[in-house]
């Protein structure tokens, strides 16, 4: 199995959802992660704080978030046999339905050098 980095970029705007609908989103997500664990695709995951800083051309700014609107809310490290399989897993992510952009990148194996 190879490792893949899955980044969720979302335009976090849940303003129109009721508490009940938000809970449903959480539950769908948890069910998805649960199934990843069960199928052996899950390695780890972590959310990212909304704030951060960006250094561009030697200048520090307050993070990438303001300019781009879409922001990376967290990452998953997944195990899959191929990019195709990892992509299929990404398509199952409930955030896809909510309009999030998902980026999947294979990690370059370093121990074979």
């Amino acid at each position: 199995m190879k490792e893949f980095l899955l980044l969720i970029r979302e335009n976090a705007n849940y303003g129109q959802l009721s508490p009940e609908q938000m809970q449903n989103c959480v539950q769908e997500h948890i069910a998805w992660v649960q199934s990843l664990v069960e199928r052996g695709h899950y390695e780890r995951a972590n959310p990212l704080e909304p704030e951060g800083s960006v250094i561009r051309e030697g200048r520090v700014t307050d993070g990438p978030l303001i300019e781009t609107k879409e922001c990376v809310s967290g990452f998953y490290l997944l195990l899959a046999n191929s990019l195709e399989e990892a992509t299929a897993i990404g398509l199952e992510c409930p955030d896809v339905q909510l309009g999030a952009t998902i980026e999947i990148r294979p990690l370059m194996p370093m121990n074979e050098a």
Partner: protein
């Protein structure tokens, strides 16, 4: 992730906690900041959404949410305070900070405080000089965590109308006196009416929900029962400190009505285990396995029913409904149910509430079980002229059922088809579909 992934969210955890969080935030930081509190609660849910999906659920999701909400509220108030301080300093010396004292680090909370803040808000809403419907909308929105669409569903209103009503009436919150303990005051009869209506609606919304796969939102029912028990305990508690409130003959209508409502709730939840089949379709009362009904809940229902009988001076809506439910709960089977008495009780309900056509519909069906299907169909035609939108789907299903009973397969099938068009819930649809195919 591995350990925490075994945690499951209780259903409606968000919705139930929305009310608790808003109640607590308002109590601590002022009811004039209810809108900010609503914002903060929404923010906290978003934080949960974006954290939990990577991390899995925390050990105590409800406590997590409450802690995050309190911290966010404190931060928002600090920001506002700083902004105001800057504005103030432009014009004059900075005045008193409007930050409440409780901001000094105390982000803890205890269940008693949460409960009192909820009851305070509930009592406050029930006392507003506004139409009953407005009071119910405010309570469902601020206290029960209902969204616009969910309120619309529960009250048969358009989402847009709910929004408008909230917008127009939320200023009522500004009349809340933070120093006043609403729990110490005696509820006016009209306020108690509203309070009971709210609890009844909440329960019914759980009992026969139209939007969820599972059909029965047990937790919503239990939440309504929990609130009813809180209010009852509170009323009884207040009375033990103030003997003057007891009527001479020992009757007490307030407590009696709460007991009646609780009796009705207990009888109805006792049938939960038998109401749905494995394919998630309703099971008709006549087809339910009565051994699955929960006997301990039924006896709890009788406890409240007996208390209500002692305390009430006249049977009201909840008492009569509870009586009907008790007759179902004690009948050994469908055929030997006392339909004559049930019909009689529904007739009393019709007299008390002529506008509630569902009582009339239920009475017609109850009496048809005594063999009078032709008479029932004749009465259905009369009722048909008075129908409103909210009762139409039930009316059509009953019509199909009566035609089925009379052996008129063509009409039965026709009305099951029509019922299918009118219902939105998948459970209702499965039920109707099955009834229709069993005709052939």
């Amino acid at each position: 992730m591995k350990e925490s992934s075994v945690h499951q969210l209780t259903s409606h955890l968000f919705r139930e906690n929305a009310g608790k969080m808003v109640g607590l935030l308002c109590k601590r930081y002022g009811y004039d900041k209810a809108d900010l509190a609503m914002d903060v609660v929404q923010d906290s849910f978003e934080a949960a959404l974006s954290t939990w999906k990577f991390r899995g659920l925390p050990d105590q999701p409800a406590a997590w949410l409450m802690r995050v909400a309190i911290n966010k509220m404190i931060n928002r108030l600090k920001q506002a305070d700083t902004r105001r301080a800057i504005e103030d300093s432009l014009f004059r010396d900075a005045g008193d900070s409007f930050l409440p004292e409780s901001l000094d680090g105390n982000a803890g909370f205890d269940p008693g405080e949460i409960r009192d803040s909820q009851l305070n808000l509930l009592f406050f809403f029930c006392e507003r000089p506004a139409p009953a419907r407005v009071r119910i909308i405010l309570t469902l929105y601020y206290l029960c965590g209902f969204g616009y669409a969910e309120i619309g569903n529960a009250l048969w209103m358009k989402e847009e109308a709910v929004k408008k009503s909230l917008h127009r009436h939320k200023k009522l919150l500004h009349f809340f006196q933070p120093d006043e303990d609403y729990l110490k005051r005696r509820l006016e009869p009209a306020a108690l009416d509203s309070l009971l209506d709210i609890l009844y609606l909440l329960f019914n919304e759980g009992y026969k929900t139209t939007r969820h796969r599972e059909g029965i939102h047990k937790d919503l029912c239990y939440e309504a029962m929990r609130l009813a028990q809180l209010v009852l305990a509170h009323l009884e508690d207040g009375r033990s400190h103030d003997d003057g409130r007891l009527a001479e003959d020992g009757r007490n209508t307030e407590d009696g009505r709460l007991h009646a409502l609780l009796a009705l709730m207990f009888f109805n939840v006792s049938r939960f285990p038998a109401r749905l089949d494995e394919q998630l379709s309703w099971i008709r009362l006549e087809d339910q396995d009565r051994s699955q009904w929960d006997r301990s809940l039924i006896s709890e229902g009788f406890h409240h029913l007996n208390r209500a009988a002692k305390l009430l001076d006249a049977p009201g809506r909840f008492y009569l409904e509870a009586l009907i439910s008790s007759l179902h709960c004690t009948a050994p089977d469908f055929a030997s149910t006392d339909w004559t008495r049930i019909g009689f009780l529904y007739r009393q309900l019709e007299q008390l509430h002529p506008g509630h056509l569902s009582y009339r519909l239920n009475r017609i069906i109850a009496e048809s079980h005594n063999g009078g299907v032709a008479e029932a169909l004749r009465e259905m035609t009369e009722l048909g002229a008075l129908l409103s939108q909210d009762i139409l789907p039930s009316y059509i299903i009953c019509l199909a059922y009566l035609y089925e009973k009379s052996g008129d397969v063509v009409n039965a099938s026709r009305y099951y088809d029509e019922a299918l068009r009118l219902t939105r819930s998948p459970i209702d649809q499965r039920f109707i579909q099955r009834k229709k195919s069993s005709l052939l």
